[in-house]
Amino acid sequence: MSDPAQPLLRAENLRVEFPGEDGVVHAVDGITYQVFPGKTLGIVGESGSGKTVSSLTTLGLTRIQGANVSGRILFEGRDLVALPDSELRTIRGNDIAMIFQDPLSALHPLYSVGKQLTEAMRAHRDISKRQAQERAIELLGLVGIPDPKRRVDAYPHEYSGGMRQRAMIAMALANEPKLLIADEPTTALDVTVQAQILALMERLQDELGMAIIIITHDLGVVAEMADDIAVMYAGRIVETASAEALFANPEHPYTWGLLKSIPRLEADRSELLVPIPGTPPSLISPPSGCHFHPRCAYAQPDHSRIDPQLEPVPDDPGHFVACLLEPEARRRLWAELQEGRRPQEAISEVGLGGEAG
C-alpha cells in the first residue's frame, strides 16, 4: 500500500504548450500540485484556465494532440511525462481513471453501456467476457443504477443524464484505480442530480480508498468534496491551501472574486454579487507580470511588470499564494470585503498604494 504521508501523485513545474497557427498556446504554465492517497484535491478555475489540460496531461492525452509537455508528474515513483505511451497505457484507466463533464458525448453512442464497461476491464485484466459482464452488473449496482441486470445492455441514449454519469463513474472504477480524476463531473447535470453524484463519489472514496482530483469552476463542489484546493488562473496556480483555510482566509483577489460571485441563500437580498470584470486572458499572449492584473481591482502599477511567485502565507502553514500585494494589506482588504464593502470602498478604507482609486 502507498504511504499516506507521501503524495500519490505530484506534478512539478508542469508546462503544457500547444503549438498553433496563431502562436503557441501556454495552456499550463509551470504548476506544482500534489494529491495524497485517499484524499481529494480540488482544482478550481474558469474555463480556459488550464485545469482540464493539466489533468489530461496526467494521462498522456495531450501528447496525442501534439502538445509540448515539460516538467514532471510523479506517480508512485514513475514520471508520467517521460513514460512511453505503451507504458502509460497500462496506467490509464487502471491506476488512474478519469470521468468527464458531459457523459452523453463521453460515452460511445453505438455501444451498450455494458460493452463499454467490460471493454475497460478487459483492456487491463485477463478475464472472460462472462466474468466481465457479471462485474459490469455489479459495478452498475454499486453506483446506484436500478435494475442493473437489465440496464447493462441498454445504450447511453436510453439512460438519463444522472445515470450516464453514474455509468461513467462505474466505468472509471472498473479497475479499482488509486486515483480518480473527475473533470467537471456535475456541470452538465441538474442540481439535485449534482448532489447525488457528489455524494456517490464521496461514498465510493470511503469504500475504495482512492484519491480524487476534482476539477471544477464551482466552489460549492470543492467545498463539499475537497481536502485541499488549488485555484488556477491563466495556466498558473494562484493560490493553494487546505479547504478550510481557503474558505476562511482566502488570500488572492481572484479567489475573493470567485467567492463573491456565488449567490448565497442566507445572504441579505440587498447584498450585491460582485462579479469579476472582464474575460479570461488569451493563453497565446497572456498579460505581463501578474496575469490577473488587468482584471484585478487592487492592482498596482508595478504589478504589470513583476511576475508573482507562489509564496507561503505567513502564520498559515500549507497555504500558498501568488500575489504582489502585501500580506497585511490583503488581510485588511478581505476583512473589508467580508463587511460587505465594494472593492473600491475597501481600497480607500485600507488606503492601498497611497492614493489608489
Binding site: 494521462l59 453512442p109 453505438l110 455501444y111 471493454e119 483492456a123 487491463h124 445504450y155 466505468m171
Partner: protein
C-alpha cells in the same frame, strides 16, 4: 418495424408506377422516332406503317396503351416483346443479367473496400504525403466520366491496343460458367473503371467523417480507459461509418448508370448495353423493362440501407 417495411414496400410499388409513367411519357413526347417507321423498311409505305402500328398497339390512345402495359406488368408479370427482335423482354434481360451482376458486384466490392480503407488511412495520417496524394487522385477520379476513363485504361493497359499489354481489352467478356479465369481477367479493367468514381467519393467522405469522430469526446474516453490505439481507431470507424451507409444506396444508382457506359465502352453484353441499344432502336418495351429493373433495384437498395441504418445505430428506430 414490420409496419415500416410494409409501408416502404407499398411506396416502392407506387414509385415504380410513377417511373413507368415517366419513361412512357418521355418516350412518346420526345421525338426518338416512331418505332413503326423504323421498322417499315427503307421506303415506308403509309399502309405498311399503319399495319405495323396496329400490330404493336401504337394506334390506340396513349392512356389505353399505358394502362395495357401496366396491366401486363403488375398483374401478369409480363414485360412485353421487343419491337426489334420480337423476343420477350424478360428473356432478353435474363440473358444479359449475369454480365451486369458480375460487373456490378465486383465494382461494388472494390468501391467499398478501396474507398473506406483509403479514407481511413488518410484520416489517420492527416496532411501526410499519402493523404494529399490519395485525396488528389480521388478528386481526379470523381471528375472523370466512365466513358473517358474506360477509353484511357483501354488505351494504356489492354492486350490489343494498349501501351502496356496487361489485361484483356474490350469485347473479351465470357460468362463465368464458361471460363472463370477468363471471366475474372476480362472484368478487371471494367471493375476498376466503374468503381473509381464511387470509391473516390467514399474515400473523401470516410476521411471527413473519421476525422470528425476522432475528435469526439468518446474517443478521448476510450483512450482514457487505456485501450490500445487499434481499438480506439475501431471505435472511431464504428462512429464514422453510419452516415456513409445512407449514401451507399444513393451511390448504387450512380453505379448502375455507370454500368451502361462501362458495358458500352468495354462491349460487355449486359443489361446496360441492352438499354443503350434499345434506346438507339426506339425499342420502347425493352427500354421500359430495363428502366423498371434498375428502379426496382435502387428502391430495394434504399430500403436495405435504411433498415441497415437502424440496425447499425441503436438511436434510430422507425415507427
Amino acid at each position: 418495424m414490420t409496419a415500416y417495411v410494409i409501408r416502404r414496400v407499398l411506396w416502392g410499388i407506387a414509385l415504380l408506377i410513377i417511373v413507368c409513367a415517366l419513361t412512357f411519357i418521355l418516350f412518346r413526347i420526345l421525338p426518338t422516332g416512331n418505332p413503326a417507321v423504323l421498322r417499315a423498311g427503307r421506303d415506308p409505305q403509309p399502309h405498311l406503317i399503319k399495319e405495323i402500328e396496329r400490330v404493336l398497339g401504337l394506334n390506340k390512345s396513349l392512356p389505353t396503351q399505358f394502362w395495357d402495359y401496366l396491366k401486363e406488368v403488375f398483374f401478369h408479370f409480363k414485360f412485353g416483346y421487343s419491337y426489334y427482335s420480337q423476343e420477350s423482354v424478360l428473356t432478353l434481360i435474363k440473358e444479359r443479367l449475369p454480365a451486369t451482376v458480375s460487373l456490378a458486384i465486383g465494382a461494388a466490392v472494390i468501391w467499398v473496400v478501396a474507398g473506406l480503407s483509403v479514407g481511413i488511412i488518410s484520416a489517420l495520417k492527416q496532411r501526410s504525403f499519402w493523404d494529399r496524394a490519395s485525396m488528389g487522385t480521388a478528386l481526379v477520379l470523381i471528375s472523370a466520366p466512365e466513358f473517358w476513363l474506360g477509353l484511357i485504361v483501354l488505351f494504356l493497359f489492354s492486350e490489343d491496343i494498349g501501351k502496356f499489354k496487361i489485361f484483356p481489352g474490350a469485347g473479351s467478356y465470357v460468362p463465368i460458367s464458361q471460363d472463370p479465369w477468363k471471366w475474372f481477367t476480362s472484368l478487371i479493367l471494367p471493375w476498376f473503371v466503374l468503381a473509381a468514381g464511387s470509391a473516390a467519393v467514399f474515400a473523401r467522405l470516410m476521411r471527413g467523417s473519421l476525422i470528425e469522430t476522432m475528435n469526439e469526446d468518446y474517443i478521448r474516453t476510450a483512450r482514457a480507459k487505456g485501450l490500445t490505439e487499434r481499438r480506439v481507431v475501431r471505435q472511431g470507424v464504428r462512429g464514422a461509418i453510419n452516415p456513409i451507409v445512407t449514401l451507399l444506396a444513393l451511390e448504387i444508382g450512380v453505379l448502375l448508370g455507370g454500368a451502361v457506359l462501362v458495358e458500352t465502352v468495354f462491349n460487355i453484353p449486359g443489361v446496360g448495353r441492352l438499354a443503350y441499344e434499345s434506346i438507339v432502336h426506339a425499342d420502347f418495351e425493352v427500354v421500359q423493362g430495363t428502366v423498371l429493373l434498375a428502379s426496382m433495384f435502387i428502391i430495394i437498395a434504399n430500403l436495405v440501407a435504411d433498415i441497415g441504418y437502424a440496425y447499425l445505430d441503436p438511436r434510430v428506430r422507425y415507427s
